[in-house]
């Protein structure tokens, strides 16, 4: 046991001095989310500010109809209405971005409305700038309400006449549950991706790297058996995977707390979710998963002749391993007696379940046992590969 820790201690020291690995395993996961979230928030804010203050140019062709509707709309200072004589020039103006939007009333618009029919008009829009039309729709909605209310008052009816049901909806689910169902998938996806990435570099460095540097022979002629060497190195691979995942989560929660509104209901629910128990349970699930990941990476790294060769095989594998984590984004897929046996998927769904505050210990136990079995198989396969003369001295 002592020898295992001697090897692990040395490998920790070695890796902690490798700036490249530290940046990828700790710094990037830590700052990735604050930077991304800050960037998205800033972009969104500046975009909405720009849109809200920008004056929309709307061209119109009256087609001999009354200008009443246009005059009502003109009172909104954020719109500029420009009259056109024909539809072709109106459409061209929208096409060349001279106008944001164009509207052309039908020749029977006024009579249709006064007869209680639908008033028709065509809109000229640019699909690429759909935000412009979405903004204008609000103005159209006001016009529609006005017409409906006028028609109702002609009939001596109030607006409630066309809203015959009044429903009071009482949502019994807690915000935590709703968040877990719809946004809970992102959390396991994040720690899964960083778990794999965090473990990958040490896995390559400690096996393929050691072969390439010519240090493996020295180690193999020291009085430690191969299982001890493997376990000593595996501890480090697993630990760095876990550290990386943990740091990514810390970065994510720090950015949510620092950049979000602490009085927001969602924020309060998120904070309520993040209990110490949740972290403990997550950690218990992540340890065998990290061993399983390490067990997939190590035999490949042992087989590879060089750091580069190992990296070229493991990088695409990252996608294959982490892809099942996407299942977390699919609403309705839950942890059951089938999904609990599928590695990676079971961790994602367990996390969602834990986040929602509902614990099914039988399913969690199946998940944990499945992962333990896989971790044991992974260690066995790694050991076989590490024991092969043809691989280790390749």
């Amino acid at each position: 046991m002592n020898k295992i820790f001697t090897i692990a201690k040395k490998e920790f020291l070695d890796i902690f001095r490798d700036k490249r690995t530290l940046v990828r395993m700790i710094l990037i996961p830590l700052v990735a989310f604050p930077v991304i979230i800050q960037l998205i928030t800033t972009l969104q804010e500046s975009q909405s500010e720009k849109q809200a203050s920008e004056i929309l140019k709307v061209g119109y062709v009256l087609n001999g109809q009354s200008e009443d509707m246009i005059n009502r709309m003109k009172t909104d200072s954020l719109y500029e209405f420009i009259a056109y004589d024909d539809t072709v020039s109106l459409a061209n103006a929208v096409d060349t971005k001279e106008l944001n939007l164009g509207m052309c009333l039908s020749s029977s618009y006024d009579s249709d409305l006064s007869n209680g029919n639908q008033g028709k008009f065509s809109m000229f829009v640019r699909g690429a700038d759909k935000e412009d039309y979405e903004r204008f729709e609000k103005l159209l909605e006001q016009e529609k309400i006005l017409i409906v209310n006028n028609r109702l008052s002609e009939m001596d009816k109030t607006p409630l006449f066309i809203e015959p049901l009044l429903i009071f909806k009482n949502d019994q689910s807690e915000m935590q549950e709703i968040l877990a169902k719809y946004a809970g998938g992102i959390l396991p996806y994040i720690f899964m991706a960083f778990l794999f990435m965090g473990a990958m570099l040490p896995a390559i460095d400690l096996f393929a790297g050691e072969k390439e540097r010519g240090t493996i022979e020295t180690l193999l002629t020291s009085p430690v058996n191969r299982l001890q060497i493997l376990l000593g190195k595996m501890i480090v691979v697993v630990a760095f995977g876990l550290i990386s995942a943990l740091v990514a989560l810390v970065g994510l929660f720090a950015s949510i707390n620092l950049l979000g509104d602490s009085n927001d209901v969602i924020m309060m629910a998120i904070n309520e979710m993040l209990t110490p128990q949740l972290f403990v349970m997550l950690f218990i699930l992540l340890i065998p998963l990290a061993i399983f990941f390490a067990g997939v990476m190590i035999p490949i790294s042992v087989y590879a002749r060089s750091f580069k060769e190992a990296q070229s095989i493991l990088t695409p594998l990252n996608i294959v391993m982490v892809l099942p984590a996407m299942v977390g984004f699919v609403p309705g897929v839950e942890l059951d007696y089938t999904t609990a046996f599928i590695p990676v998927v079971n961790v994602v769904l367990s996390t969602k379940m834990l986040l929602s505050g509902n614990f099914d210990f039988a399913l969690l136990a199946i998940t944990f046992i499945t992962l333990i079995v896989l971790a044991a198989i992974a260690i066995f396969i790694s050991m076989r590969q590490f024991g092969k003369e043809s691989s280790i001295l390749r």
């Binding site: 020898k3 001697t6 090897i7 040395k10 020291l13 070695d14 001095r17 490798d18 540097r213 010519g214 240090t215 022979e217 020295t218 180690l219 193999l220 002629t221 020291s222 009085p223 430690v224 058996n225 003369e389 043809s390 001295l393």
Partner: protein, 255 residues
């Protein structure tokens, strides 16, 4: 003491390897039932052309490879059955042995001392001995990646000796090294002999063999061509130089 008894090693050739070697045989035999003995206080040289099986033999002696048949005894211990005990008694050095470049010389030596269960007192005493002997104090706390090739080889020599092994195995230890660094290795081998250690080394450089060797074996294509003392080799010498005689013995085996 090292005893090599009917040592045989074979490994399967992949289709790719068969193609590369231009052969239909599915098995390669780098070492073919060889026997020799290395005695304490003497330097044993293992000679042979490239691909003769020298490295494979030395790797089996130092427990890195397992023989297909036959066996090796190091200080009376079987290298397969008592691999860990054998490793405690062996120091292994090659010219291409790498170092952990992010560790300092001190950390590097401590790591291997710990793996070899060297006590703290013994570690300090041996470390200081080699630091003095090889003039290493100035770079003891520098990261190994920052050191010159010569300095690195000094660290490697200290690592080889830090657990005071009874048997020292050198696989082409001066290959690719400059004259001054190679001289350190030669000196180490001579010191080991003086201290009564068993030394086995493989080399291509006949001047080194001439200078250091007490006993020697020549192998080619895995077969033992000569096994005896240096005096016996010289006594039977036909060619005018040692190098010439070595080439003659190897060529004769091809006929």
């Amino acid at each position: 003491m090292i005893k090599v008894n009917d040592l045989y090693k074979e490994y399967k050739l992949s289709k790719k390897q068969q193609k590369e070697l231009g052969t239909n045989t599915t098995v390669a035999v780098p070492v073919n039932k060889i026997n020799f003995e290395c005695k304490p206080g003497r330097v044993f040289s293992l000679l042979g052309p490239n691909g003769a099986g020298k490295t494979t033999t030395l790797r089996m002696i130092s427990t890195m490879l397992v023989p297909t048949s036959g066996n090796v005894e190091v200080c009376g211990l079987d290298t397969v059955k008592n691999a860990n005990d054998v490793r405690r008694k062996i120091g292994f050095l090659t010219g291409s042995t790498g170092l952990y470049e992010r560790l300092t010389a001190n950390e590097f030596l401590k790591y291997f001392a710990d793996l070899n269960d060297v006590s703290k007192a013994d570690f300090e005493q041996r470390k200081n001995k080699y630091y003095d002997l090889l003039d290493m104090h100035d770079f003891a706390n520098k990261k190994l990646g920052e050191l010159s090739t010569g300095m690195k080889q000094k660290v490697n020599i200290s690592r080889t000796m830090i657990h005071n092994p009874d048997v020292v195995v050198f696989d082409e230890p001066t290959s690719g090294l400059d004259v001054i660094t190679a001289e350190n290795i030669i000196k180490l081998i001579q010191d080991c002999r003086t201290e009564g250690k068993t030394v086995i080394f493989s080399s291509h450089i006949m001047t080194e063999v001439d200078l250091l060797c007490d006993d020697l074996a020549i192998i080619a294509k895995g077969n033992l061509l000569f096994n005896g003392t240096m005096d016996e080799f010289r006594a039977n010498q036909v060619a005018p130089t040692l190098t010439g005689e070595f080439i003659r013995v190897v060529n004769e085996s091809k006929n």
